[in-house]
Symmetry: C2
Subunit: 605 residues, 2 copies
């Protein structure tokens, strides 16, 4: 290992790495370009003194609850880039938080291994009736009962307004004030642990929101050398990048240490443009590994990556970045396009049963081959990593919410196909992730919603409308992200899970998760042992994993799929599924999971 984590400054350059104390007791802020910094604290101004490495200090002691901001060369006050709380939103003053105060009850908590995980992605604002941290607590027992092991919270960092997915965050250290107090978030994490649920937080380090982002006034957090879909890239390899990277690493440490999160889901790592010898992701994973040792708790990093590049999750010793797992959207796209028949956008690269079969045997369908959608060669083969290094889903906030009307997969499928989707997900060799309400086929959509100030809000509304108009949508049919209704419509209606159709689907998910948990062949993550057979014409598809055979038909006629003579039907999506002599009979749009028995049906035993 040749990582130098000790990035000691060799000079007094204002861009050098932090001289801020680990647990600040007085006020400090990094502003290497500034001529004068003023602390505005509880209504009083205090001139700050310039220290080393571009850091400014004020001798005032930090007291929990104090409200403050910084004036830069007389302008401001602006919130602290490391503000732990923004009770009045992104433009308001920061507030001091004492992270030592909360009475944790999870002293003996350890998260289960990712290899055994079933992740549940949830959005705090729409998950419960209250749309708050405290509101979410009431539902945790149901998630544990379902068989979920890891809850993944969509981003919480303070974002503009009161409604939003969270990817517009600007105060990375402050939980969104509308969801509750920092202690309420700690209560949610603590309650998860009490229910046996690990908690992963979605963090966005590749871009910042378009409003309330004052970081650029403080220092070179961004670079115009590289652009991303969200504008200037975060500065990971230019002048001042040591501080920026430290800022992001410290943020990760805060969530893991002070809020007891068990891991982080790192948004869109493909938007990190970083030519440095120690890539930021590798620095972050090394920092997390150190922290794991220090805290004595299992920690996990999951990357959202559109690179199809195994380097993201290869070990650092093997030249990788050392992240534990990454999302793989190819599984989703292969499955979605087969079940819905959609072929536009990125689905043009998918659509056949062969694509779906490939998605079962290799995490990246595009692993060094030409992608028509991208107009370039995409990805790289994964040869030596187990399946649990990849997180897959049939739906998630993006795949649902980025549709014009936020419709869920279940809204567009027959009940049979909805069950197929669930079964293929939960029989996959990867870590399955559910999206809130998926388990009962929630009738509520998950729409794109925002709460920006007037001018920006109009831009967002117009942009969204135009985006879908270009795809042939009637603009009147595209919900306005700024409309409070788009948010309200997206809130889960928990009562509906007791209605018959929903309850049946919920039972199906529950049984599939239980089967996965109790069936070693479904959970061993062994990609090399998987066999797949596809009949494109007959529209059926079989996956073999050890002694388990998953047979699925998307035909409109009854299919007869060859099967071993001795077999046992474990679970089927349709009462009409049955085993015949050397055959599985599958009605249209159905799936069966079968255990193959020794030749004589195990009668010798």
């Amino acid at each position: 290992m040749s990582i130098s984590l000790d990035q000691s400054p060799t000079s007094r350059c204002p861009f050098s790495v932090t001289s801020r104390p680990e647990s600040p007791v007085t006020y400090a802020v990094w502003a290497p370009y500034a001529q004068a910094l003023t602390l505005f604290l509880d209504g009083t101004h205090h001139e700050m003194s310039r220290g080393e490495h571009g850091w400014w200090h004020a001798d005032e002691p930090q007291r929990a609850g104090a409200r403050y901001g910084f004036l830069i060369d007389g302008e401001g006050p602006y919130p602290d880039p490391r503000s732990p709380s923004q009770p009045d939103g992104v433009h308001g003053l920061s507030r001091v938080v004492d992270h030592k105060r909360f009475a944790w009850t999870d002293a003996r908590w350890q998260a289960p291994p990712l290899a055994s995980a079933v992740i549940y992605e949830l959005h705090v604002g729409t998950f419960s009736d209250d749309g708050t941290f405290r509101g979410a607590i009431a539902r945790l027992g149901e998630l544990a009962d379902l068989g979920v092991t890891h809850v993944e919270l969509m981003p919480l960092a303070e974002f503009p307004g009161t409604r939003g997915w969270g990817y517009d965050g600007v105060d990375l250290f402050a939980p969104h004030h509308f969801y509750g107090e920092p202690d309420d978030l700690k209560a949610l994490v603590d309650a998860c642990h009490a229910c046996g649920l690990a908690v992963v937080l979605d963090v966005v380090y590749n871009h910042f929101g378009p409003s309330g982002n004052y970081l650029g006034k403080f220092g070179p957090y961004f670079t115009s050398r590289y652009t991303t879909p969200w504008g200037d890239a975060v500065n990971l390899d230019g002048a001042g990048s040591a501080e920026d990277r430290q800022f992001l690493c410290d943020n990760a440490v805060m969530w893991l240490r002070d809020y007891h999160f068990d891991g982080l889901r790192i948004d869109a790592v493909h938007a990190f443009i970083d030519n440095s010898a120690l890539p930021f992701l590798e620095q972050l994973s090394a920092r997390a590994a150190q922290l794991e040792a220090v805290l004595g708790r299992h920690l996990v990093l999951i990357a959202e990556s559109d690179l199809n590049d195994p380097r993201v999750i290869r070990s650092r010793e093997a030249g990788g970045y050392g992240v534990h797992a990454q999302w793989s959207d190819d599984f989703h796209h292969a499955l979605h396009s087969v079940l819905t028949g959609e072929r536009s956008g990125y689905y043009e690269d998918f659509g056949t049963l062969a694509h779906l079969a490939t998605a079962f045997t290799q995490p990246f369908v595009y692993a060094g081959i030409y992608s028509a959608h991208r107009s370039r060669v995409h990805g790289r083969a994964v040869r030596d990593l187990p399946g649990w290094r990849f997180v897959v889903s049939t739906q998630n906030h993006d795949q649902v919410g980025n549709r014009a009307r936020g419709d869920r997969l279940v809204h567009d499928l027959s009940p049979g196909r909805a069950r197929i989707a669930a079964a293929l997900l939960l029989c996959s060799p990867y870590v399955p992730m559910l999206f809130q309400g998926e388990e009962w086929g929630a009738s509520t959509p998950f729409q794109y919603f925002t709460d920006h100030e007037a001018a920006l809000g109009r831009l967002v509304s117009d942009g969204r409308r135009r985006e879908f108009e270009a795809f042939g949508w009637d603009p009147a049919q595209v919900p306005d992200p700024q409309a409070p209704d788009s948010y309200a419509r997206s809130r889960l209606r928990w009562r509906e899970r007791d209605e018959e159709d929903h309850a049946e689907l919920l039972d199906w998910y529950r049984r599939l998760i239980a089967l996965r948990r109790t069936t070693p062949a479904l959970r061993d993550g062994d990609l090399s042992g998987i066999r797949v057979s596809v009949d494109e014409g007959e529209r059926h598809f079989v996956v073999w994993r050890g002694d388990i055979m998953v047979a699925c038909s998307v035909a409109s006629h009854v299919s007869r799929v060859p099967a071993p003579e001795w077999a046992e039907l474990l679970i089927a999506s349709d009462d009409a599924v049955h085993l015949g002599s050397g055959v599985i009979v599958l009605p249209p749009d159905s799936i069966a999971i079968v255990r193959v028995l020794p030749d004589n049906g195990g009668l010798d035993a």
Copy 2:
């Protein structure tokens, strides 16, 4: 290994990879956006037909010497992006070359290993009186006599005008017409091989020249998502990048296969911005490794890299890019700043004997520590690679030519220090590289020279003047790059090497190279065995490599450096150097290379 070199297209997308035949017999060009392509061949227009993957074809047979170009949607004709010859320069028509015609005499040639190399960088236009390929041939014997093993030619690809360093190339497949015909270049390479000299070509894949660059009219060779010091980056990871990368790889193959080059020096790989799962450099090195097997000749890739990142040269199996060696400027900077006392620009990160000592024990002085000049943490430690994976110099085209007046190191140093520079270079654990004329301390500078058209030329002249004015130079003292004199002044004067001072320095280089060649401890590349001691106050510095001790003083007084009792003086830069009892006596600015003998002086033997 998980490289997919077979980037087979899976669709008929116009950006997909080439459908051009390996050895074209008819005309073809890639122009995915065009509506109509016309071949303009020897004065006649021929409509081309659109084939697969954005390639256009005309059925006319290619005949050596034919002159041609392409009209895109009626505009043009423009030269072929893959033009093998541009007899009238960058704006003229292309000319067909038959690469099978040349009568090679090097059938049994094999290049020596890079581990044993002494490289000699030369610029064809100023190396000989003629400034041509043929002109260079006459001097090859002298290089071989000096002990050079590898000649490195500065870039040859067609660039605007008649005078230039070559980094403004735009027709990557065409040797610059002013230097001679393609066959003249082949004659030069053939003559090198006849003299026992390997030949490496400097290729520029990270940017194109500002004039005569018509590639953007043909296809998406560039991207505005990333910027480099030279403008838009070459498109290595966006739509169309498969073709662009193929274009560059094919170029490398052409030089190695058709011109018999033994290797390539890849310019400024730090300016490749490439987020793809198979980085371009890795693709290129894999392609070169394949070609090595196919041709049955040793091939070598050397990267110029400012990343201080060992990933560039780590093996592909170990997560690296598989390049054989890379330049390391830290050695130069450490040595230059100690010998000249310069501290401006990048020299601010260097200047002590301790920096120089570090440069002898690790290839990157900046290996994960904070660089004040860069205002960021820079580089990464190299722990497991031999010294010969790094190429170092005391001067090269950039370090000389990017100075305001192109003065060589020897022009600014006492004769003693010039000898110290040479000896430290040739006793380093790295591959030493000389810059043309360095060996006799040429009186001629190597200035920046260009030959751009009027308007661009004025911009270049003004830019250069302003650049150095900012550093406090009198603009009148900064040679005008556009002035023919700047070129003429930079031409080597071979006769002067027989003058006394020059001849003495030449003899010093010759003896040092011979000593390196015959002394295993100086050439074993073993970094782990090197010991260094520094006396910053007394201004002396000792390097131990096996039984060899290199003792050097940059003091203004006579130094007495502790030494073993039994030792033998192998070579010294000054007649006043002598061994005393347990001491080496060094006059001001001198260096001695000593062999340590067994305790009794070897009398037992």
